[in-house]
Symmetry: C2
DNA sequence: GGGGTTAGCGAAAATGATTTTCAATAGCTG
DNA sequence: CAGCTATTGAAAATCATTTTCGCTAACCCC
């Protein structure tokens, strides 16, 4: 009954999303807004999996189906709003892909799962060079380094 | 009844594998030898998925259970003999990780799936720099660039 | 501003890669 | 060679992700 906060008053965030969606024949739904809001709202929520998104929404009282979460994530990846990451072994993670935000990469501890981000212009340089050299249209690049973090190096027992 | 060709006469390939396996408490089995032989035997078989390995073995008359293939791949990844790659969306691929072979990376066409390899010392330099900067022990690094290959750029219809 | 069209939703079932279970077998070490 | 235990095969189990289907809600047009 009560409003969801998106219905009428001008919301620049929503307008932006709506335009991007409608341009490609997609519709602006409250579910998509809430999912995207999770990323832009919480700076600590850099990397989220579908299940984590579903859980966080449930925690804040939003009952959104897990299939809807997956569908929304795919749409946003295709629109270039999110990027899909292969951080853990089994599930995929997603992060906001701002047009401003420069390409950044990941250092993952295979022991505790901690993820650290870093940037280096050389990475972008190499991906540009290679895509051009082979005549590819570049869509995306992922650089992930796996290792053991300083903290976990103390606990080196057999897994 | 007839031999498998590995039973007795000195096989440097097998001895090498046996030593590596035994050093960590693993055993040399004919299944593991055959799986590893697929990689070193066929230079065209750069990137293989578990299912492809199972199929190739079946084609050459070797009946090895798919679960054994998965188990062998994990062991070899842990021993540093193989590297796990995230090339396609759904399955994992594996490739030989020679101590000689320098780190190389992948350029993937998201349309046709073609995989091209390239090398660039800057990538290794960056991963070394970052792991050291954060105090990590470096295990592995993967750099994958996604794009559309020249051939597929002609077929740009909506998916 | 309402009505028709159709994208999108939820719930549950389906899929498909990978993992585990368990009894039988085969490496390795003494 | 014997004993211990890692490994295998086959089938069942997992588990993330996708699909199906009837219903709802966005968007477009008048």
């Amino acid at each position: 009954m009560e409003g969801n906060g998106f219905t009428d008053c001008a919301n620049p965030q929503a307008d932006f999303l709506k335009e991007i969606l409608n341009r490609e024949g997609f519709r602006l739904t409250s579910q998509r807004q809430k999912i995207l809001a999770l990323f832009s709202g919480d700076p600590l929520a850099h990397h989220l999996s579908a299940e984590e998104i579903h859980q966080r929404l449930a925690d804040q009282g939003e009952k959104i189906s897990i299939s809807t979460v997956y569908r929304a994530l795919h749409v946003m990846v295709n629109l270039g709003l999110l990027q899909e990451l292969e951080l853990a072994e089994d599930r995929k993670y997603y992060e906001l892909l701002g047009p401003i935000m420069d390409q950044h990469h990941h250092l993952v501890c295979v022991h505790c799962g901690e993820v650290t981000e870093f940037e280096d212009p050389r990475i972008t340089a190499v991906s540009d060079r290679e895509t051009q050299a082979w005549g590819f249209t570049r869509l995306n690049a992922q650089f992930t380094v796996y290792g053991i973090c300083p903290h976990c190096q103390g606990h080196l027992v057999a897994p």
